[in-house]
């Protein structure tokens, strides 16, 4: 039985944690939340120097060629710090999409730039109200030109390229394709959109005859997206676990220090049991996330099920810990000055980014049905 990370992977985790503790304390998150910058660029540059964006990129494209397990431990630390950098978007979603569906030429160009920190990628799926689905995508791609509007796009302003879900004229699920578009062209307009988490900036991207190219085969967009979301669900789960743990300890520390009715509020069972429940949910999420990581690494056939379970457990753990952290703090936890808001906001952003728990629960049961039928 070897259901744990290796000593080297734990060491890497410690290094990333130390870097983020030094360079990305909560005051940096607050600076981005309050300010205009698209992300904490000095933190991002430091992460590039550490090799974070290069972690999962094969060596032939200038990456470090490390396994998903290394990226998982990094993701956990990024989540713990609620780091205001394009990690989920560029290092997870864009990089994984290129690895899954990119042509050799695309990988050569974009993965190398990602590894070197010269490019920031993002994924542009939603088009405003209504959850994305193949039949509802109005952005079109044809003759090498992309037209339409995507919002909200995480890190849309910071990104130098985007992978866009566009209608290419097929039937049913095959109506859509993934399209890679360089955002540094005049045919692309970026506009900031206000969201519940100003520490992670989102944008509206408008394409007017923007030059673009298919990523993967035409009509394969939705299927590739499902596979991409399975991988992303595992990395997101680790980030959510990190965030949930941070919120839990923040609440614990406050409960030890805050006195009410003559004693620390942390000595009351109403608080203790709430935080014990945070721990229970956290460990359920961690165990499910580990299995997701294992399946991701082995290319295991159980990945779709493991990813869905990791996603559901981690979303629940982060939502619960982040909201009960505010509750444990009482009134002070609801002020703008309190750090409690970072995780509360980030938990919801992460819960919705790949589709919410309701959708993943439905997916999980479908996958269980398929597995049982097989």
């Amino acid at each position: 039985m070897n259901f744990d990370f290796s000593d080297d992977q734990k060491l890497l985790k410690e290094q990333v944690r130390k870097f983020l503790t030094d360079k990305c304390p909560t005051k940096v998150v607050r600076r981005v939340l309050d300010g205009n910058e698209t992300h904490a660029d000095e933190v991002w540059k430091g992460l590039v120097e550490l090799g974070v964006p290069a972690t999962g990129i094969p060596e032939e494209y200038g990456g470090l060629g490390l396994s998903p397990l290394e990226l998982c431990v990094i993701a956990e630390e990024m989540g713990r710090a609620a780091a205001p950098v394009p990690f989920d978007t560029s290092v997870v979603l864009a990089t994984e999409a290129l690895k899954l569906a990119g042509s050799d030429a695309q990988k050569k160009k974009w993965l190398s730039e990602l590894a070197a920190g010269k490019a920031i990628g993002t994924l542009a799926i939603a088009e405003g109200p209504q959850p994305p689905k193949p039949r509802g995508i109005r952005t079109t791609f044809g003759g090498g030109r992309l037209n339409g509007k995507k919002l909200p796009v995480a890190d849309g302003e910071a990104a130098t390229f985007a992978i866009v879900l566009a209608n290419t004229g097929g039937q049913g699920d095959r109506a859509v394709s993934l399209v890679l578009v360089d955002l540094k062209q005049a045919a692309v307009t970026k506009k900031r959109v206000e969201t519940i988490d100003p520490a992670r900036k989102h944008a509206e991207l408008t394409f007017k005859d923007a030059a673009a190219e298919l990523l993967g085969a035409e009509g394969e967009g939705w299927r590739t997206l499902e596979r991409l979301y399975d991988a992303a669900a595992v990395y997101f789960a680790f980030a959510q676990v990190g965030g949930a743990e941070a919120a839990m300890w923040m609440a614990r520390d406050y409960a030890l220090q805050r006195q009410a009715f003559g004693r620390a509020i942390g000595s009351y069972q109403a608080i203790k049991h709430k935080l014990a429940d945070c721990y229970v949910k956290l460990e359920l999420a961690r165990s499910n996330a580990y299995y997701g990581a294992m399946m991701l690494t082995d290319g295991g056939s159980d990945l779709p099920l493991a990813a869905a379970a990791a996603r559901i457990a981690a979303t629940d753990a982060y939502d619960f810990a982040s909201k009960e952290n505010i509750q444990t703090h009482g009134g002070i936890g609801f002020t703008w000055e309190a750090d409690t808001q970072f995780h509360y906001r980030r938990a919801r952003v992460m819960a919705l980014a790949l589709g919410g728990p309701m959708a993943w629960k439905d997916k999980l049961v479908s996958r269980l049905e398929q597995k049982n039928a097989a």
Binding site: M1, D4, S267, A276, E283, N288, Y291, K361
Partner: protein, 407 residues
């Protein structure tokens, strides 16, 4: 990451399997063959015979030192043996308390002569042990026990009552925690002893549980005389001895849970017609199935993390403390939900496939949430030991036991 055995573990598993194949019958995959222990006297006889066979082959207590009949093996080997044994039709459960809790306490406190006398018969299943701790007025607050032990010459006289004593009705010996000094605060006035359950004045009365079973007992002590040589630890240090016992309550990891689970719930949901089609297509039903699957997987995988630490010879982290907190309410809630899916017939004991199984979970879950630490006490333990939060204010801490307000 993988779920594989190390080469040594694989070799041990192979050895165990070969021995089990030669000495026992493998279970079919039918989950109905997972049966909890019952009170059939023949079963105890069979269990004793099986225990003896195991002890002779050196599998009865793998982690114990060789001098006590163990093999001085690592905890992971014990787990591997239990995992393998669970696949065979063998009577289990009668010796867990004795070998898991009572005898380790004896090893910590009993004289060499007593160890010489008692360890081997316990290991070979000749003598069964029980643990006499809980009382009608001392459940979660076990240090609040009232059973008295009073000095009488060179011995002690015990009067009082214990309750929830598993297996007392077939046990030969027991370890008992008593109050020897009511004039000091509750934890300070306790002393532990062991005694024969056949000592005059000991009376065992089975308790019929809500589930219909009767594994537990009330045990009454009326002027029960025992020699001072049966004292375990110093007078007034019974709480320390009790903690030794309770610390040995672990290592229940790695055992398959058996019973009905998400697979059977899905089967039921497939076969149940709701107004708008099969229940499995209903989003509320799917959402609940998904939640329980995530819990079921989460618990299994959490055990694997604990086993990983054991396999590497490390001390496991506190993660396994979540298992009962999740498993017990899940059993109760999933049982209740499955019955709801069956409609009004969900209350009937027959006719509906799996009805009896889910009803058993619904009933059993109510007990499981209490046994061996209530949901509430377990949350206190997680908060205090894992999260480092303060213990609750103890109003009885410095008050002599005989000055406390009692229920």
């Amino acid at each position: 990451m993988d779920f594989n055995d190390t080469p040594e573990e694989a070799a041990f598993r192979k050895e165990v399997r070969a021995w089990l194949d030669a000495n026992a019958t493998r279970k079919s995959d039918d989950k109905a063959s997972f049966r909890a222990r019952n009170d059939d006297p023949e079963l105890l006889k069979k269990a004793k015979a099986w225990q003896d066979k195991k002890a002779k082959a050196g599998y009865a207590r793998i982690t114990w030192p060789k001098e006590y009949g163990g093999r001085g093996g690592s905890p992971i080997l014990q787990v591997i043996y239990q995992q393998e044994e669970a696949n065979y039709l063998v009577p289990l459960g009668f010796f867990d308390i004795g070998l898991g809790m009572c005898i380790p306490t004896m090893m910590a406190y009993a004289s060499p002569e007593h160890l010489q006398r008692y360890v081997k018969p316990a290991l070979h299943g000749d003598e069964v042990w029980c643990q006499l701790f809980s009382e009608p007025a001392a459940g979660s607050d076990v240090a609040g026990i009232r059973t008295r032990a009073e000095r009488d010459g060179d011995g002690w006289v015990i009067n009082g009552q214990k309750v929830w004593t598993s297996g007392a009705h077939y046990s030969d010996y027991g370890i008992i925690i008593t109050r020897t000094d009511p004039n000091v605060p509750k934890h300070a006035g306790l002393t532990m002893f062991f005694l024969s359950m056949k000592t005059p004045g000991v009376e065992v009365r089975p308790i019929k549980q809500m589930s219909g079973g009767a594994n537990f007992n009330e045990v009454f002590f009326t002027d029960v005389r025992i020699p001072d040589s049966q004292r375990l630890g110093k007078v007034g240090e019974g709480w320390k001895a009790a903690l030794t016992t309770l610390m040995n309550e672990r290592l229940a990891v790695g055992m398959p849970s058996g019973g009905l689970d998400v697979d059977e719930l899905m089967e039921l949901a497939r076969d149940t017609d709701l107004e708008d089609g099969p229940a499995i297509r209903n989003q509320q039903v799917r959402s609940k199935i998904a939640d329980w699957y995530v819990q079921q997987q989460g618990l299994k995988l959490t055990r694997y993390r604990t086993l990983t630490a054991l396999s590497k010879g490390q001390t496991p982290g506190p993660e396994s403390s979540i298992i009962k907190i999740v498993a017990a309410p899940k059993m109760q809630d999933m049982g209740a939900f499955a019955m709801e899916l069956m409609g009004p017939a969900g209350i009937m004991k027959e006719e509906v496939p799996h009805a009896a199984g889910f009803q058993a979970q619904w009933i059993g879950g109510a007990g499981f949430r209490i046994a061996g630490g209530t949901d509430e006490i377990l949350r206190n333990i997680v908060a205090e030991r894992v999260l480092g939060m303060p213990a609750d204010v103890r109003v009885d801490k410095d008050v002599p036991f005989n000055k406390l307000t009692r229920s």
